[in-house]
Symmetry: D2
Subunit: 341 residues, 4 copies
Amino acid sequence: MLSFESDYITGAHERILKRLMETNRESMSGYSKDIYCESAKKKIREACACDDAEIFFIAGGTQTNQLVISTLLATHEGVVAADTGHVSLHEAGAIEYSGHKVLTVPHVDGKIMPEALKEYLKGFYMDGNCEQMVFPGMVYISHPTEYGTLYSAEELRGLRSVCDEYKLPLYLDGARLPYALMSDNTDVTLPMIAELCDVFYIGGTKAGALCGEALVYTRKNMPAHFNTIVKQRGALLAKGRLFGVQFDELFTDGLYFEIGKHAVKLAMRMKRAFLDKGYKLHIDSYTNQQFVILERSEWERLREKVGMSFWENIDENHLVVRLATSFSTTEEDVEELEKLI
Amino acid sequence: MLSFESDYITGAHERILKRLMETNRESMSGYSKDIYCESAKKKIREACACDDAEIFFIAGGTQTNQLVISTLLATHEGVVAADTGHVSLHEAGAIEYSGHKVLTVPHVDGKIMPEALKEYLKGFYMDGNCEQMVFPGMVYISHPTEYGTLYSAEELRGLRSVCDEYKLPLYLDGARLPYALMSDNTDVTLPMIAELCDVFYIGGTKAGALCGEALVYTRKNMPAHFNTIVKQRGALLAKGRLFGVQFDELFTDGLYFEIGKHAVKLAMRMKRAFLDKGYKLHIDSYTNQQFVILERSEWERLREKVGMSFWENIDENHLVVRLATSFSTTEEDVEELEKLI
Amino acid sequence: MLSFESDYITGAHERILKRLMETNRESMSGYSKDIYCESAKKKIREACACDDAEIFFIAGGTQTNQLVISTLLATHEGVVAADTGHVSLHEAGAIEYSGHKVLTVPHVDGKIMPEALKEYLKGFYMDGNCEQMVFPGMVYISHPTEYGTLYSAEELRGLRSVCDEYKLPLYLDGARLPYALMSDNTDVTLPMIAELCDVFYIGGTKAGALCGEALVYTRKNMPAHFNTIVKQRGALLAKGRLFGVQFDELFTDGLYFEIGKHAVKLAMRMKRAFLDKGYKLHIDSYTNQQFVILERSEWERLREKVGMSFWENIDENHLVVRLATSFSTTEEDVEELEKLI
Amino acid sequence: MLSFESDYITGAHERILKRLMETNRESMSGYSKDIYCESAKKKIREACACDDAEIFFIAGGTQTNQLVISTLLATHEGVVAADTGHVSLHEAGAIEYSGHKVLTVPHVDGKIMPEALKEYLKGFYMDGNCEQMVFPGMVYISHPTEYGTLYSAEELRGLRSVCDEYKLPLYLDGARLPYALMSDNTDVTLPMIAELCDVFYIGGTKAGALCGEALVYTRKNMPAHFNTIVKQRGALLAKGRLFGVQFDELFTDGLYFEIGKHAVKLAMRMKRAFLDKGYKLHIDSYTNQQFVILERSEWERLREKVGMSFWENIDENHLVVRLATSFSTTEEDVEELEKLI
């Protein structure tokens, strides 16, 4: 059976496993104070062209979002996100659990447009009752978005400019970042993200690691005593080396980008195959996630042989499925899929 | 340099890494809904002789404590712990962050004695003002304790009996459980723990895994919608297989117990060596952690060649150090240590 | 200057002040355990025709909403409210501070329609990803709504029926309840509210008291240890007698209903005056709040002599103002207003 | 029956009720933006000799403590208090509910001694594990303490000095402040408190008001957007005038101090009476609360005719009771008590 359900259905890139094996018996300090964490941070700083970057490794994306958002916001503030944003919908209320509201702005293809953000902020401060409302305290975007779409450099600069005007930090969720960076259809680079965002994370889990995300603060703005705060939130792992070794390898000889390139290439081939056979796309994604509209009967037939994720219903006869590629998807997998559709 | 700083300074038992390698390309459902998690749960239920056990895998111990305690307690309740308990002192306020007070009882060698617990509870309900105080809502113990000491079966039964009288759930933190179970000086077994505790966790991180703890609910008392709650707390990992494969291997052919046995044997040899050479112990531990009193000059000398953890000061000339063994400690390591002391 | 800004701009009904004076030197137990609280509860139970009603007095409305909602919900649940609901917008994130999300349903004149509720709930459970979303755990409505509108008995029964189907408690915010109960245009009674809602509150602050709301649990469903919980939230006042004396008086000889009747009568007269003079209403309210559309120039002129609340902008030339009546509004006030418009 | 149970068993000083009556029909802005709140703040600033003081009125003491502490602390910090402090024991976990730990220091007669504070802080930072512990973030004291005892000016300066050394804000809970300020046995004044503390509150509820506490920030250190934060916590009352009128009257012609003087005078007379008749005091209080040791039989006899609060058991035959005076206690009450003991 073919498996395109997600980009987290297999283990880790073999180069990562190999390094875990090689370093296994080395004695190292706990709590991410080991040499591999240090080395990984150095390489990430270089990849971001950001010497000042402060980096912390966290096990998962929801936890990272919860940590960043709840420590950046003042108590009376909420985070502004697209209404389709991961933090708005699919993190089981993790932000609210931390005491903060998610303030939503209507999305365009999963993105917050600079104009929509500006309109929202302007409206907020014009409301005579805003003193008894949740104040916007930061902006959350994902890149790629939950729909696999990408911000252009211009859009990202536009958001930065609105954020500057309203003195709001900009946070980018990069759970699937390599598939954005290596897309054929992007002018956004990692250094640009580091330049335009106050904080962002470089996803590991959905990008070929066993687990782990590299959280990057770009303006010497990591909260004081962050170690203690991470411990308090239950997010400090004793064997931080697990993150260190993985990210050190991911940022050695461009492995991270290679993983992105590989998956995007196969996703583009998959997209072309669907289009060639007359399928319609729900959204035109240039990253590793593809959203295809299927007739219900086709869905019933195909799912016997192809693992896909149900995304949403269109009408009685049509639905959207998501197919994702990853480091472990092969040319053969896509070829076989082409035969089946 | 010899390393006895802790039991989390090396990676994972090689059998675990091997299984991760072997299963790496298998496609599996995310969020711990894979076959290895299922298999691991089955084996753990057997090892606990508890068919009803509901099991969940969490990345780290503090997070597990935070999750269990905050979901078991009613909002007006606190958790009763020894004043030396991990949740009382060394989790950076993780329990308070979740909204609950840690109510402390004076420890004896790191343990809560049944009589002390009873006295505290009796006193609480006799206080005319208890309506405006935090109610005791559960009891937390660690086994082994933070001092490497162990509850006897009688003590554990005594705690259970007090808990029954006051209708309080009993929770056991088993971060270093194998070193308790395989101690020469214990009459407490895993099935006994499952019988006497409402919930407990089987530590992985400090017991030879890369990360992960197996949380066990023994009375069909796992909170409803636990998956969603774990997600809300940021504690649900996408690649839950990482836990599944590791715990499945740990509970195959007794690896978990073997790891415990190995580390305890070496710790006992280390203890004997210290005693033979006239050193005094801070506490008489029969588990993998040893607490030795050193003269300050000896400490300065030894630390050049032996990794140890500073534990606490005794007086101007003496201090306590902790030395721990683990799956990766070798006979040679201990031999070399013997020569150095 | 005339004052119609709100229903909380003057003190308390004089009968209440008189009773506070008369009872001032009586020694009473603190924390709402006095005879006046008991007497008030008895009278409220009678007015609600609900012998089982459990009642608690809280200082303000936001605090009451926060307390009720956060104690009724399970940790992974949110409260369903109209997108215009007070808890959604104008309580500065009080619900989120307590850890829970407000799940919004599009309003119709400030109300949640039973069909809209059902559609939302049905959609939620059909979503394949709902396990990683916030579960709907209760329904919040206000009566009158923030727009001064009223649920009909049929609508209320419809909501109850949907709540029954999905096993959700129904909570009614009665901050301005007397103006609903005494409207000419309602078939909803206090006993009906007690019958159809699991919990609701009878507003005091905006209904002629100095402060205080009477929270009513109708199904013996007040949380256990509620006293302690209220203390924990900082909401337990030492001199609970202040609530007891006030609500005892409000529910003596129908004072509460008299206050409602008086304010509604004057509001209806005011509405007629606006309509007669050709003004347009933003919404047709039959309660003590009136929402009138003004030209901007008219607004500038009128606000010199009449206290009103700016509500929202309609277009460049028009805006909506709110005028409210209360126990302290007089016929003369309305007459004078009639002359000014 | 005589009533000495507490200082909150009667209503309010009659001058306060009279002013509420007189101002009742005046139209005023809600949410403490009225002229009486402004006037009261001005008078309090004068009484404190602190022109910069920022003042906010809150309904009750626990709520005030919760608000101040949770907004002053960083997320990883706790509040240092005496182990007998109100926030440590008798607020049902209000501080922990807000996410923070109460770090306790052993008390001396209910007080934190400067040396004990220093020792605790020194020890904390010497602990090699402090990164995984809750950091001390502020110091909480009550004056008078829960035992009716008083800090001397020297002790207060000592605490200030330790706080300066460790850069910690000092917060004083003045729930019963007038009984401290008007004690015969104090050299601490209100301006001195304003000078030495970063924030404190002037109690109203237990000092002759119906409800309300005046929270005073002395270093222009009131948190930004405090209004919104207070609303978020459910602590913003619509009819803030209730606080304004009361505190304005309390600080007119020295009423607040007069109330303190009156109650302390009667308490001293009561103390003398007990001592003259051979009773022993549990603690030597110079404020309005007296703690007397009674034989159990005496307790049984006396409680038939005198309202007192049970405080704690001494041994099988003896217990401690608390008797408190207030604005409403009369010379006759004390005379009658003298006859009964």
